[in-house]
């Protein structure tokens, strides 16, 4: 076996292996792979080649900047972590730890958590996923009556986003507003965040991860304004059947939650068909806002941090962590926007 850093000439071998990684694997889509794994030093993909020169595993390592109680903390976020041969995942995990020093998992497979639990990583409470307008998507092998019930629910229980505008708490629009921006500029992130543990990337990282001009995913950026003054920002992943609240930060948790709702309503302002909205939150004040708006809690994702040797201490009160869904590439699944002929969007089950 040999481990190599991905370069564009490896793409065909990677694509050939990708069906074994899952039907929605983003690794089969060259624009995704080449943008996220070849353009910045902080995010690279490593491929495990077998002796027959086939790709037998992969791991993307994205070096992300966090803040924990005001301390800067760089953690390697693993993406597209797959191993086709028993035991090979351990080689990839060690690659991750040796290159990043410390890691974070948000979501992740059962196999990944088998490893991180064995290394005694620190686990936060699971992060709930909140869904508005659930897709009620049929699943393979589901009973006929359940599929019929979902078909009915899709027709009667979902509404276009403008119909939710009246659910904003009274007075919110008197104080808060969102304004779409077309560049990431200084002053976008709040000078002081409301969250003791948060992902706190610099502008270069934001410009790359949530690039507003990618052909395969449409990110939209909104500044949150409180009485006209900057309070934070929200990034929405905008696609035809769903919106994902990808990332955001603000100087106040309630302002961020309301800003996320305002941004989603802004994106969907002209909708005539229902779209699903998905986000995650560990913050109890924000959760109350989302539940009051009509979001339903559907599933939860594990969140863990650690090193090769053990756990990393995080702030004690996990209920005030800022955990947005689209860390790493959590919000990115095939088919992408530039894949013609693939009607259904990435499996929402993968997002929870």
């Amino acid at each position: 076996m040999r481990l190599v850093e991905y370069r564009p000439e490896h793409f065909e071998a990677l694509k050939a292996a990708s069906p074994a990684f899952g039907r929605n694997s983003a690794l089969a889509h060259r624009p995704f792979v080449d943008h996220y794994y070849t353009t910045q030093d902080w995010c690279r993909l490593f491929l495990l080649f077998g002796d027959d020169e086939r790709v037998e595993g992969s791991i993307g390592i994205d070096r992300m900047r966090f803040e924990a109680d005001g301390r800067e903390l760089f953690l390697g976020f693993a993406t597209n972590f797959y191993a086709l041969q028993p035991g090979a995942g351990g080689l990839l995990f060690m690659q991750w730890m040796k290159r990043a020093g410390a890691g974070i998992v948000f979501g992740g497979s059962a196999d990944t958590h088998k490893i991180t639990r064995a290394r005694n990583w620190a686990y936060a409470p699971e992060v709930p996923t909140y869904v508005l307008n659930p897709p009620y998507a049929p699943r393979p092998g589901e009973a006929a009556w359940r599929r019929a019930a979902k078909t009915l629910l899709r027709r009667v229980a979902r509404r276009p986003l403008p119909a939710f505008a009246t659910r904003l708490a009274a007075g919110v629009r008197d104080v808060l507003a969102v304004r779409e921006e077309h560049e990431y500029v200084d002053g976008l992130a709040p000078a002081t965040s409301a969250f003791p543990f948060r992902f706190a990337p610099d502008l270069d990282y934001l410009r790359w991860r949530y690039d507003l001009r990618l052909p395969f995913v449409r990110y939209r950026l909104f500044r949150i304004l409180r009485r006209g003054a900057p309070a934070g920002f929200v990034v929405i992943n905008d696609s035809p059947s769903r919106l994902i609240v990808a990332h955001g930060d603000a100087d106040d948790a309630l302002a961020l939650a309301q800003g996320m709702l305002l941004a989603a309503l802004e994106v969907g302002a002209a909708d005539v068909a229902p779209r699903t909205v998905i986000l995650t939150s560990l913050n109890t004040a924000m959760q109350r806002v989302f539940e009051g708006f009509g979001f339903r809690r559907e599933g939860a994702r594990p969140l863990a941090v650690g090193t090769l040797k053990g756990p990393i201490a995080l702030p004690a009160d996990a209920s005030s962590y800022l955990v947005n869904l689209d860390w790493g590439d959590n919000g990115l699944r095939r088919p992408f926007l530039d894949e013609a002929g693939l009607a259904a969007e990435g499996d929402l089950a993968d997002q929870r």
């Binding site: 028993p86 035991g87 090979a88 351990g90 080689l91 060690m94 040796k98 064995a118 090769l308």
Partner: protein, 79 residues
């Protein structure tokens, strides 16, 4: 002090207690049911600790059998 091979055998025996001496010598990733990802990490971490070495990221993928790890360690001894 025991030689490199003996010390490496002890590492394998600690991680794979059901293997006998002959099986350890033949052990490789894919040939032993118990050699899963957790075992890979435990084994390589134990070897690093026992021998006071650190496998470079680019060398990790070679460490897939008793024979290959032994060869790597012996090459370090003679380097």
């Amino acid at each position: 002090m025991a030689d490199t091979e003996t010390r490496l055998r002890r590492c394998f025996a600690a991680v794979f207690p059901d293997l006998d001496e002959a099986q350890i010598a033949e052990a490789s990733l894919g040939s032993i049911a118990a050699w899963d990802s957790v075992a890979t990490i435990t084994l390589l971490s134990l070897v690093e600790e026992e021998f006071g070495v650190s496998f470079e990221p680019e060398d990790l993928a070679r460490q897939t059998s008793f024979a290959k790890i032994l060869a790597d360690l012996e090459a370090r001894d003679t380097a």
